[in-house]
Amino acid sequence: MSIDTATAAKVAKLARIKVEEAELPALAQEFNAILGFIEQLEEVDVDGVEPMVSVTPQRLKRREDVVTDGDQPAKVLANAPDAREGFFSVPKVVE
């Protein structure tokens, strides 16, 4: 599997990371080196092996379905780059 610059651009877009046009060939090359390393996995016989979900067999704990937290909007917004009137502020999303 070889990644070309168009695929690299698509991956960057999916990851929401801006990559300049000029940097795409080098990025594609890096991906190919890493994927080449990863492709060793194809040698392994994994027939009948379930993909691991959790490393410990224990079931995830469940808790009561009740409100345990909340009512602290000031703390929630304290680290926002732009917060106004009790909300996170972002560029206009809907025209």
Binding site: A15, F31, I38, V55
Partner: protein, 494 residues
Amino acid sequence: MSDLNKLTITEARDALRKGDVTSVELTEACLSAIDAADALGAFAHKTPDLAMERARAADARIKAGDAPDMCGVPVGIKDLFCTEGVPSQAASKILEGFKPEYESTVSGKLRDAGAVMLGKLNMDEFAMGSSNETSVYGNAINPWRAGNSDAALTPGGSSGGSASAVAADLCLAATGTDTGGSIRQPAAFTGTVGLKPTYGRCSRWGIVAFASSLDQAGPMTKTVRDTAIMGAAMMGHDPKDSTSADLPVPDFEAMLTGDIKGKVIGIPKEYRMDGMPDEIEKLWADGTAMLKDAGAEIRDISLPHTKYALPAYYVIAPAEASSNLARYDGVRFGYRADMAPGDGITEMYEKTRAEGFGAEVKRRVMIGTYVLSAGFYDAYYNRARRVRALIKRDFDEVFADGVDAILTPATPSAAFELGKEVSDPVEMYLNDVFTVTVNLAGLPGVAVPTGMDRNGLPLGLQLIGRPWEEGELLNTAYALESAAGFVEKPARWW
């Protein structure tokens, strides 16, 4: 007492309880050592006022006779832990200015036990790296130097600042986190002890997530006994982490008898890598002989899927990272890029992430995005998870056959020069070759310094234990530490 910053946790605890020293004195000694060691780049954010306040509170507590083991002990906290009101950036530009409104469970447990936080420690950005060279703060530097050379060496990564600070006696101990070897490799590179507990032992709540199925916090200390003490203070069930184990945490220190007679130590043949330096080979053979002399039975074992651990890791960890790091979007916390006229929300995300993440983080997020994308999910991600199941099965079978612990090298070399290995990401990934299997299988692993290379740099061995049996593992590590008698310290140049 002089050189209070050089004490171990054990020595400090005992001296504090006897009234021979106060936490204020210990803390002042560490703060001076930290201020004199900026050249090491170990501390990214210093918190002297907070430290002194906590030291005074600890002294009052000790006086009142209510002092847990960690009470009054000055420690450093890796920047990956969220600490209330104190910058917690995961060494990334994208978390610039972030001051959490809450405290991570693990650092909170240490705080509640009376430990004194001296500041936040340098690390690789988002814990992605093996040399501490991906940090927004710049490199952390190893206090050790090779022979007469003054070349700057890596303290390892990702917990490089933690390792450097402990080795240079800037703090008595530090927290680290380990996703593929990030506690054990830096410990080995700096002649210190580092434990990655069983997955689920330490709560992950409030620790900036890298790869959630692999991440574990652990102690980085000067001795195995200190690791037993600090480890116990960090562990325990936390309802806020659904993968946290609801199991009692034993008194690990009480389990350090040094008696390992009849214990079966496995030596896995697959860890004898092609081109492994003679020094590492010898270190491993020496360590094996020490455990044998202490009465353990040495058994050759096979972990046949070892070779595939690194490639599986470099699918699973980036996949999880790409999901975890999706939260850094410039909306809720940290950095937001300047916008050009006409930029919409997508441009805001893309610019923020391009400017906020460093090269290695971007690389891994994008690899993770790729292996999870439609059409490749089965070929890469599901295959890697199947291989992971086989890697774990290898360990399960060996333990079922009666092996108590496994001895391996901790790293393929001693600490290397900064700037040497960053050019090839795959080459850098090989640093984790002996440690990454342990994360994939969720097992406890500990690095113990047992020797030096020809240039006078420390080398470490790794012991791998059965799940939840950190106590027994640390006892074996204690026996190894006692036999190796590693006491060397770096000569001060900073």
